[in-house]
Symmetry: C3
Subunit: 155 residues, 3 copies
């Protein structure tokens, strides 16, 4: 049964798929105390296909980068649901770490990362407002355009 | 009214300006329990101007990179003050994450990052000694030379 | 006296050396509550020599990158032992952050990072399964091929 947050996502046309499995010898999330640490999520869609490959400031447009960041955020939420059963148990999105696959000099990482941040605020309202670091990296797994990791305070 | 730590900074000629506003849909800090997570701060000065643009190992010298890292640290402290009202409520600087805008092969990130670490120790003494990770990234927001994020234990 | 985890490592032929000293004005670990934050560790061996220099997707093979990641993990454990006295006091490996020195487009970061993840699971079993983020960076201190930071829940 979906909670209030998941219903809000449904109203936005977002259905959380099965959470993506980790690609190696680690787990998608670890809870310690009331903190839930979620592994870096790539910009894959519900079928596991990477939605944007390559670099911002290279072949990937800012618009496509934003969609990619949003896909990462949706995957973070799928992991949180898998961890907690119900997104309503998130009391605060504490931090997002945004890694933008970037050509040297690409300066618009924050615009790209908004695709993830905006989704968190759409889902959780004020509780979705998070601390954030955005950096431009040389390469990402599977040549994904964006990877986002998350830290959540949960009850 | 300034506390002991802020007075020490004043003695070093550092006046904390208004904390920089986030450039997008996130917040500059989130507190969870007694941890304060501060968003990645760029190397902007009190007027919001980026003090060094471009890459280490490219057009930016190590000395200018160190000044940039110091500017990031000052902005972190401005955020901590905005969060807590008084820097004296910091019981420990837990971690700094340093992102150095770097040309491939630039190996001197730690020297650059010392500009931030030294300021923390100057401000907080032993409580300012922190865990740290320094990496060289391909690009940073606004083409800033340095970005630093911080995690603080607070009372 | 070595605990059960350290004995398991010995059975794998791994003797923890003196924990590497930080290269600047910071400390190798900070404990806050029951969380132990360990600074980014480079891929140095017991003599302090970097085991692989340069970039993945450049001069460094995936196999050598995996060995480098494993060396980072061993250094993390040396720091944890220095912090706690006994690795048995780790109740959970919460998170590893993997930074792979990468040529643009290098997509196999997770394979490289498995060198670190596999060691954690070999040492701690189920408690060693961690959340993880792997990114490809443009440059690392000392031109190291890999840097890994760690967050541990401890008792």
């Amino acid at each position: 049964m979906a909670g209030a947050v998941e219903n809000k996502l449904k109203g936005l046309g977002i259905a959380l798929q099965e959470a993506p499995a980790p690609v190696a010898n680690y787990v998608p999330f670890v809870r310690t105390g009331n903190l839930l640490m979620v592994s870096g999520q790539l910009c894959s869609d519900g079928d596991g296909k990477i939605v944007a490959k390559g670099q911002l400031g290279g072949g990937v447009s800012i618009e496509d980068g934003q969609k990619a960041a949003r896909a990462c955020a949706i995957n973070l939420l799928a992991q949180v649901k898998a961890a907690l059963g119900d997104l309503d148990r998130v009391s605060r999105v504490v931090r997002l770490g945004g890694f933008i696959n970037s050509a040297p000099g690409f300066a618009e990482g924050p615009k790209v990362m908004n695709g993830a941040s905006d989704l968190m605020v759409a889902a959780f309202g004020g509780k979705g407002k998070h601390a954030r670091s955005t950096v431009g990296v040389a390469a990402l797994p599977a040549d994904a355009a964006v990877e986002v990791e998350g830290l959540f305070e949960v009850s």
